[in-house]
Symmetry: C2
Subunit: 407 residues, 2 copies
């Protein structure tokens, strides 16, 4: 409906955004970037959503203050340490903004600060003092990939995307980088996502677009059911595309949301694909639900089930576990007429109809489960709403990675 095209250059794809990443000492491995910076040439409308964990990383608290005015120009983010429950962490997060602002000649309130990594380890201001000049010096209009690398923790692949779209006849661009991997669960993930756009859009409208989007994107993904303390999705829009500013509902707002959805859906897919230890992407589509909330809740419960995830890893069509998870989701609906099918590509196998086991051949089911992306299709047969949740299988590597994470 709205034309959105993939382009290159990530967060630097939109007009007027520079980025950089560098190793600054938060991590021991000097080949890994651990500090990233994104800066806009012009002031941006800004919006963000944060973790709903009661315990919040120091940066989250600072960002909530800084984004009250709906404006920002820069994002600074370190990996390797979450700055959560660290002694003096709040002051360190504030000072990080001050140092970044001073180096860029902007106001400290226009800096968004994020941290990701181990929780409860001491974090030192000196590392930022040394690192910030380094990343500032490296800023470039082609720096998206370096910045994407600087926010990775256990991620194996970089998560970067950009699209072009049209608002009122003007070509606009939107780019994003994200990190995922572990402690990924709705509300939200140990998940950081920074989105840039050169579209002109009012801050309040930007916030609404983001709030709506995450209900079906980042709040519908899970790697391990653990909701981090630092999750942040921030979007900054500098208006340099020159479109008539989006100020409320209408065609332009819808086109903007379509571009945003393209970006977030891409990143959701890639975050679960690179989930800790994951060997397969697992998507659960619930249809026939009495409400959107039921569809979202049920699909999410299924992809969060350790037993479903291990069965998919084992390529075992043990669909009873799917039905069990449907049954213990905390949504209100009837369980007496549920259909379940397993699908991959164009193939599908019905395994349960009207909540009763189907007789099915194991061979095609096994063939489906052996694919890189497995879909569980659930029809609740009691309404017209639907939703998708994004997850991954649970593997031996998941346990290996998380048994030795700190060491």
């Amino acid at each position: 409906m709205y034309k959105t095209e993939y382009i290159g250059n990530g967060v630097c794809a939109p007009e007027g955004f520079r980025a950089a990443g560098a190793h600054c000492g938060f991590r021991r491995n000097i080949r890994k970037n651990d500090l990233s910076l994104i800066v806009s040439d012009a002031m941006c409308s800004a919006a963000a959503v944060f973790t709903r964990n009661k315990l919040k990383g120091a940066p989250v608290l600072v960002n909530k203050e800084h984004l009250k005015d709906g404006k920002a120009r820069a994002v600074i983010c370190n990996s390797g340490n979450a700055n959560t429950c660290a002694p003096g962490g709040l002051e360190i997060a504030r000072e990080t903004c001050r140092l970044t602002a001073a180096a860029l000649g902007i106001d400290e309130k226009d800096v968004i600060v994020c941290s990701t990594g181990v929780i409860g380890s001491p974090i030192y201001l000196e590392t930022f003092e040394k690192g910030i000049p380094k990343v500032v010096k490296r800023l470039s209009y082609n720096g998206s990939e370096a910045a994407a690398r600087g926010i990775m923790t256990t991620d194996k692949s970089i998560k970067e995307v950009a699209v072009s779209f049209t608002l009122g006849g003007k070509t606009c661009r939107m780019g994003a980088i994200a990190k995922g991997s572990g402690m990924i669960n709705p509300n939200m993930a140990t998940m950081l996502c920074f989105i840039t756009t050169d579209a002109a859009i009012e801050a309040a409208v930007l916030q609404t677009a983001l709030d709506e989007d995450i209900k079906d994107s980042f709040n519908q993904i899970s790697v391990d059911g653990d909701t981090s303390t630092n999750d942040t999705v921030a979007i900054i829009a500098n208006g340099l595309a020159g479109n008539k500013p989006v100020t409320g509902p209408g065609r332009d707002y819808d086109a903007f949301c379509a571009a945003l959805r393209t970006v977030t859906a891409y990143l959701c897919h890639h975050i679960v694909k690179d989930g800790e230890g994951a060997s397969k992407v697992l998507k659960c589509r619930v249809t026939g639900a009495p409400s959107k909330e039921v569809a979202r809740g049920v699909s999410l419960t299924v992809i969060q089930s350790d037993l479903v995830k291990t069965a998919v890893f084992g390529e075992d069509a043990n669909w009873g576990r799917v039905l069990v998870a449907v049954g213990y989701s905390d949504q209100d609906f009837k369980v007496d007429n549920i259909d379940i099918a397993l699908a991959a590509g164009k193939k599908s196998v019905a395994v349960c109809e009207h909540s009763v086991a189907c007789i099915f051949d194991e061979a095609p089911a096994k063939e489906i489960l052996s694919q890189d992306e497995v879909h569980i299709l659930i029809n609740l047969n009691q309404g017209n709403e639907s939703a998708i949740a994004y997850g991954c299988d649970m593997t031996l590597d998941y346990v290996r990675i998380n048994a030795r994470y700190r060491t």
Copy 2:
């Protein structure tokens, strides 16, 4: 306060209970018992609690009917097939009660029927027709262990316990068998527990005692966060001890509850100890909570966290993950003054005070985490309520077991 002593003979410890177990063909391995029977010589008061999964196994539905009158005399249970979503399952569960009742010369409404195993596989009446005479024939006053073996699925150890206690000067006995292992989570677990007692107690009072008990026992354990469709805890009391029947609150009721708690706490410990793939028992004790619900909810959230469980497996004092789980529990409380310690035996190490990291030595922390039973002690510092949750670590074997369960 109330004297409770461990004794032998499991469900056959109380006066007038016979039990048996045999291989009848639900499982392929002919060395594994897969059908168990417990019978009382006299009519019993009966009470039970069932899964809160919206999807319920056929036996659960039948038991709800049969226990309406608060009476029962026998428990029949197969393993290897859960009789959930199986074609014709409800009729098979009913017919199982009829066949058992006929063989014992009792009323079919006085039979409790349970099934555990794979969900959604066809189950055949023929197997019960062949098996029931076999277990009836084997009934004995020493048959508890055989019955305990007959209800096991992925369990590696049998779960059996018995105690003696005193009501109004009369010695009473209580015995129980249970099965656990996987799909274990509050409300409740794939968990079956059958408790026998020769105490005389009214059915309604028995139900109240059981309802109260499970709040701090079976509803506080988790192996994998998956709530089964078949979970059942049933208690039958035949009154043969000759005590003055317990009809309401008072000293005898309290003594009965103390005995019940001894039995259920023992089984909870052994269920998590034998959790699928578990190498360690993990207990989380929350103190200083503003309410019992907060204490229960927080402790349970911690032992359910895959990241906490894998860290314990890896003997990694990554306590930040504990605090993260505390933060995302859905209870309402403050997170700014939380103390966390790790403990085993008489040793403990404080790792977090006032929600800020402590400097601690890794060596003693590692020493604690290398023990078979690890305790996470959390003080919320905002009230006087406390609770314990029982769990286990998440290991490579957990994934191995669940990736190949059906095959």
